[in-house]
Subunit: 229 residues, 2 copies
């Protein structure tokens, strides 16, 4: 386990918690490295656990499954998203709220996350079981979001359908955005070429990801009226 200079936030936590977070992070880092190197299926949990010098039992106290540790970066995003939704005031169109909040969550995660997430999505894209799990997580987070929004709006179960649909649509937009972000490098979205933008965090960076997200959200109304000749 490598030592690193603890952030102020870490310092505030009791020693026990800090240690726990450190092995948690060590597991995620080693997992990403091993999986990228040898492949997800090809790497066994025992190998991962040996590399971090932790028992398998401890691993399962940190992560629910082998898939989850590979997608640790994505799980961080979802936690940030839900927290952001809970923290923000809600008024105006809910769909806009969900988009803005998602963008805010991405922005708030920093550059290190940026790199890890890019690598993670690459791994997910070429590993079917991870792809499935990622899909599933994106739907599960929708339930958490809708739950939060219900409290905020105080809706009864009658309006439920609309709210749930809205959650589904938002996460659907996310999935489209994330897919395009990884696969389509040379694509200029409806907002025109990117060179004019000025500062952005390089190819595949979170700035590009955010643009994909906004493109996808903006495409929603049009998609509903899509008509065949």
């Amino acid at each position: 386990m490598t030592m690193s200079t603890p952030t102020p936030a870490e310092r505030a936590l009791p020693l026990r918690e800090r240690k726990k977070l450190r092995t948690r992070k060590a597991l995620a880092d080693a997992a990403l490295r091993l999986f990228l190197d040898r492949g997800f299926q090809e790497t066994t949990l025992d190998e991962l656990v040996d590399a971090v010098e932790v028992s398998k039992r401890t691993f399962f106290r940190m992560y629910e499954s082998k898939e989850d540790v590979a997608m640790a970066a994505e799980l961080e995003l979802w936690d940030a998203y839900v927290a952001e939704v809970a923290a923000r005031e809600l008024h105006g169109p809910v769909l806009d709220f969900l988009r803005e909040t998602l963008v805010a969550a991405i922005t708030g995660l920093g550059e290190d996350w940026d790199r890890r997430f890019l690598a993670t999505r690459g791994l997910i894209a070429r590993t079917p079981v991870l792809w499935d799990r990622s899909l599933l997580r994106s739907i599960t987070v929708q339930a958490r979001l809708v739950n939060e929004l219900e409290t905020k709006l105080g809706v009864d179960s009658r309006d439920d359908v609309r709210l749930r649909l809205l959650g589904e649509v938002s996460l659907a937009a996310w999935r489209c955005a994330a897919k395009n972000w990884i696969s389509g490098r040379g694509y200029d979205g409806p907002q025109g070429p990117r060179e004019k933008l000025g500062h952005w965090k390089g190819p595949g960076g979170s700035t590009q990801l955010i643009r994909r997200v906004e493109d996808a959200f903006h495409a929603i109304p049009d998609s509903l009226t899509l008509t065949a000749p």
Copy 2:
């Protein structure tokens, strides 16, 4: 393995195929019975396989996983849906097309399916792993649908986002519909009380399911403009 009077469609198939389909069905039936009786997690594959007097190896030639055999009825629906989409002419609003086709697929599956599907959804609702798997399948079918629609429409990858979003939204509507169908028995949708309808296949029948589907699809445009005070 119980014998039953073969339908004309079955008679057309070679003997080998018929046998295969029969064990396939026997597995699905026994699985549903056992899982409903003892619970999904509590029943092992070996027990199921023993009950049908088939080897475990054979089981995995029929179904991909333990989850899949429990959701056999749902898989039938998805196959029917995709087939229906492939068979129909496409013109007019694509969202309407997807709704109508889904309704047609449900209608075409018959009363036996009706009963099995109701039981299946009940099982899914109280079994987390099945719930997850069902969610996943509903997203996977979306990929198949979009694929089919792409061929029909001849769209380039630029329009892809809209088409994919449309697929996502449709399946999202389905998930809402299916959830409400199982959980909310006493709920009168926006189309008014049901007693006036005349013929329908009883509580939880596919006629009710279809109404849920139509309600959910109709709620889509409204949900997008949902606004907080």
